[in-house]
């Protein structure tokens, strides 16, 4: 059989192949030749054949029939054979092949070979693909090699040990004694690998970590080495662009990071050296930046002092100004991680971050956008929002949804004024309207209803936007809802904020009808506009036109639309007397926290949907409430109602109060709104409005007051104006105790004059701890529809030093803003 062709020629011939098919043909021919050659057990050319096989394997062709041949090569004595054999083993064999175990013995022999290169080869192979069984068998040998004086081998042995530990963590202890001397090496290579080994050990096992921290005094050693590296000046061997052995520096920093995490002593020892590295490394090249980056990561993770952290964040800020995209990307990612903890420091770099929004690279833009949202706060909201809205205009579609949601959230939290808020939302809707999330429509509607004074302005702007463009569905939905609600304001042309426009009723109806027939409107939008038209029937005078429109849609194909139209029709025909009441302007909605149906707030302020779930820790018998009334005798007092009372409170009668009583007693499940004569909305008008969470605006600056201060017990009232209904004041009482003994079984009761209604929610606890260590809070809601001056009688009972104490007081000094 002729000698098999040389590797070079094979490669050359394969590269000349023009098509896949040609190449495959050549390879198959060669594979056949190789296989027959293997069968002949020819030692001389085996090496060449296996090399060719490996090349074909790299190209992607199956080469498993060469595995046994690799083993034979390894067993041979020639170095070249061994080399190719081990290479083949590393490429072709891995844990999944059964053949690899046969290698174990060969490797063992080679590990004890006289030539260091053979030993090195064996270590390499073991380190690359050793399975757990192999590692277990050979770990002893590796450990022996760790202690040799040959630095070439020590390096390889150290990394091999790393691999062994990764595969078989239990063997870690075996390597422990060998590590003792590792760090006193002069040879950088060995030092480097030992640091890696130590890192691996510390990462794997917390016991090791504590061991190293305490016994070995590792940290000072590492600090010393690092210092030497920086100070030592020029060393040609390990120098990279003027910095001595950056790889070693980085690795040491990494190990320091692991050692210093949540450990104060180590962190302290490291502070100086970290500061030194941070300031002395030059940043003109990527190398310096790499070291600085690692330093920053380390500073962030250990318990460093705040000056150091600020330094780290400044370094990151400098990175942002760098031209290299990689560095900017890295800086933005790390800033994102740190913005939670070091908010103020990151704020300083806000303008740079905002500039990054304009970068061309997509991943940088995305990171910058996330970071900008994290940085928004009350002070910078206007400026930031301008930038973000500009970004929204010009960014790619995949960002728009996230950006729009982010803008909404930020605007909700930090809006400086209602008008600004509405303007911002309108801007988002007009620019990125089709990308906003579905639930933002009801949120927006709820927001608009809350800002009562802005209704005219809002509806005018929405109308104008609608005239321009009806393709963006969320905008159209919100606009049609508003026109339906506030159409009369639109037509009457009164608006303080802007130039009022003259709109006639017919024009408005034209627009709404246009929405109904347009192809751009989704079914949901059509539903919105039909409902809006219907609502206008009470607000406008041209009822006939509306009747006509509604009756046309009674035969629409869309079931939803048809149902609505039919019901509205029925409203016109049979229930015309109810129509004005039904289609009255919607009251301000409260957001509910549960996902149940929307609760429409009754003007007496009873929406108990979510919050009143907690069962009180105190059960007050009703007769105590009666006592209070008796004691207060001659005054006109209304009943005291406490939530979740098991017994009925004493009431002065009146159907409305019984209603309150029922509602408050039900406590657990959300009470459904009972249909009363004044306000009820038939369910189909609630379509499209999903539930919204509860929130209370803190009123601007109603000063808190001290209601009672006697015997060491101090009760303070703080006020909030309940946003959905301006007649409700929400008072939070804070009870604190300046004496040296606790006050237990603390109960707070209150009564108000008859024109008010009071509701007491459950307190946070019934123990007032001594010496102002804490306080009890309890929320009172007072309904004051007649805007009379608020007066209150309070009764306090508690147990102090074993003796029960009772006290009564009258509170008259409510600040005027709280009840006006």
């Amino acid at each position: 059989m002729p000698a098999p062709i040389r590797l070079r020629e094979l490669i050359r011939t394969i590269r000349t192949a023009r098509t896949q098919a040609e190449e495959r043909e050549m390879i198959q021919k060669e594979c056949a030749a190789i296989r027959s050659s293997f069968r002949e057990e020819d030692n001389t050319y085996r090496c060449r054949n296996v090399a060719k096989l490996l090349y074909m394997h790299m190209l992607g062709y199956p080469a498993h029939f060469g595995q046994l041949e690799c083993l034979k090569l390894i067993a041979s004595q020639k170095f070249t054979d061994k080399r190719i054999g081990y290479l083949g083993a590393m490429l072709l064999l891995d844990e999944r092949q059964d053949v690899h175990l046969l290698m174990t013995n060969c490797i063992k022999n080679d590990l004890n070979h006289s030539t260091q290169y053979v030993q090195g080869l064996a270590l390499c192979t073991l380190g690359c693909m050793g399975s757990s069984e192999m590692c277990r068998d050979l770990a002893g040998e590796v450990e022996k090699l760790l202690k040799t004086s040959n630095s070439y081998l020590r390096k390889k042995a150290a990394l091999c040990a790393v691999h062994v530990i990764r595969k078989v963590p239990e063997l870690m202890e075996m390597f422990l004694p060998a590590t003792k001397n590792l760090l006193s090496e002069k040879n950088h290579g060995v030092l480097h690998t030992s640091v890696v080994l130590l890192t691996e050990m510390c990462e794997r096992s917390p016991d090791m970590l504590t061991h190293f921290r305490k016994n070995e005094k590792l940290v000072p050693q590492l600090v010393r080495i690092l210092k030497n590296l920086i100070m030592s000046g020029y060393s040609p061997e390990h120098d990279v662009s003027g910095i001595s052995d950056p790889f070693l520096q980085v690795r040491i920093l990494r190990l320091l990071r692991i050692l210093g995490k949540s450990d104060d002593d180590s962190s302290e020892a490291m502070n100086d050296i970290l500061a030194q590295v941070a300031t002395n490394t030059e940043t003109s090249k990527n190398v310096g930046n790499a070291i600085l980056y690692e330093t920053v990561l380390t500073i962030m993770d250990i318990k460093s002092e705040s000056g150091l952290r600020v330094l780290a964040i400044n370094i990151l800020g400098r990175f942002l100004l760098n031209n290299d995209k990689n560095i900017r990307y890295v800086a933005l990612t790390s800033l994102l991680k740190t913005v939670q903890t070091d908010h103020n420091a990151v704020q300083r770099h806000r303008s740079t971050i905002v500039d990054c929004l304009k970068d061309l690279d997509v991943s940088i833009k995305r990171r910058a956008m996330e970071l900008s949202f994290a940085l928004v706060n009350g002070n910078n909201i206007r400026g930031m929002m301008k930038e973000l809205l500009y970004f929204l205009d010009s960014c790619d579609p995949e960002f728009k949804a996230d950006c729009a949601s982010g803008v909404f959230l930020a605007a909700e939290k930090y809006a400086p004024s209602k008008r600004w808020h509405i303007d911002t939302i309108m801007r988002v809707l007009t620019t990125a309207g089709s990308y906003v999330r579905d639930d933002s429509v009801p949120n927006l509607i709820q927001l608009i209803t809350n800002s009562v004074e802005m209704h005219a302005y809002t509806v005018q702007r929405l109308y104008k936007a609608l005239l321009d463009d009806i393709s963006q569905q969320p905008l159209v939905q919100v606009a049609s809802w508003c026109i339906g609600e506030y159409g009369d304001l639109l037509v009457s042309g009164q608006c303080e904020e802007e130039e009022p426009i003259q709109v006639t009723e017919d024009e408005v109806l034209d627009v709404l009808e246009g929405l109904l027939v347009s192809n751009l409107s989704t079914p949901v939008t059509r539903g919105y506009s039909l409902t809006a038209i219907m609502k206008l029937s009470t607000r406008f005078s041209s009822v006939n036109r509306i009747k006509k429109v509604v009756s046309i849609y009674g035969s629409s194909i869309d079931v939803e639309l048809q149902q609505r139209a039919v019901e509205y029709n029925a409203l016109f025909k049979k229930y015309d007397h109810m129509r004005p009441a039904l289609l009255e302007r919607m009251p301000i909605m409260e957001k509910t926290a549960t996902n149940g149906p929307t609760e429409i707030v009754q003007t007496n302020g009873e929406t108990e949907s979510s919050d009143s779930k907690h069962m009180p820790s105190i059960a007050q018998p009703a007769n105590q409430a009666n006592d209070l009334l008796d004691l207060l005798g001659g005054h006109d007092v209304g009943p005291v109602i406490q939530t979740a009372l098991p017994t009925k409170p004493a009431s002065a009668g009146g159907e409305l109060l019984d209603l309150l009583g029922d509602l408050s007693l039900s406590g657990g499940p959300a009470p459904s709104p009972t249909p009363s004569v004044t306000i009820s909305q038939p369910p189909f008008l609630l379509d499209g409005l999903s539930s919204q969470p509860l929130f209370n605006d803190t009123a601007a600056g109603i000063p808190p007051m001290t209601a009672y201060n006697k015997n060491g017990l101090k009760i303070e009232f703080t006020f909030e104006r309940s946003n959905p209904n301006p007649n409700i004041s929400v008072i939070t009482i804070h009870a604190s105790n300046t004496t040296e003994a606790d006050m237990t079984d603390f109960v707070f009761q209150a009564a108000v004059p008859k024109t008010f209604q009071l509701q007491l929610l459950s307190p946070s606890s019934n123990v007032v701890p001594a010496l102002n260590q804490g306080n009890i809070t309890q929320v009172i809601r007072v309904l004051n529809p007649q805007k009379q001056q608020l007066r209150m009688r309070i009764k306090l009972t508690y147990t102090y030093k074993g003796a029960p104490v009772q006290d009564l007081a009258e509170v008259n000094n409510f600040p005027p803003q709280s009840w006006q």
Partner: protein, 93 residues
């Protein structure tokens, strides 16, 4: 640049891309330097390396890799040392 739970760090040299796959927690910039170091060694060893050199001598390239990286970590960073070893190994063949 994110791939399952690893990161891919790459650098382009003329028509070739050298890629390294590392953990998410590792320092990107340091490994970029590692790539550069490796390419410089290749350059020295093959005397102005070009793509064909890498193709025809792939087993030698593997040797260089083994000298510089092992068990997934950087092993030797000094170019002079690596080159000395490689020349020794070559002489054994």
């Amino acid at each position: 640049m994110l791939f399952r739970n690893f990161k891919i760090i790459y650098r382009r040299y003329a028509g070739l891309y050298f890629c390294i796959c590392v953990d998410v927690t590792d320092n990107n910039l340091a490994y970029l330097e590692g790539i550069h170091n490796f390419v410089e060694v290749l350059n020295e060893y093959f005397h102005n390396v070009c793509e064909l050199d890498l193709v025809f001598n792939f087993y030698k390239v593997y040797t260089v890799v083994d000298e510089m990286f092992l068990a997934g970590e950087i092993r030797e960073t000094s170019q002079t040392k690596v080159l000395k070893q490689l020349l020794m190994l070559q002489s054994l063949e």
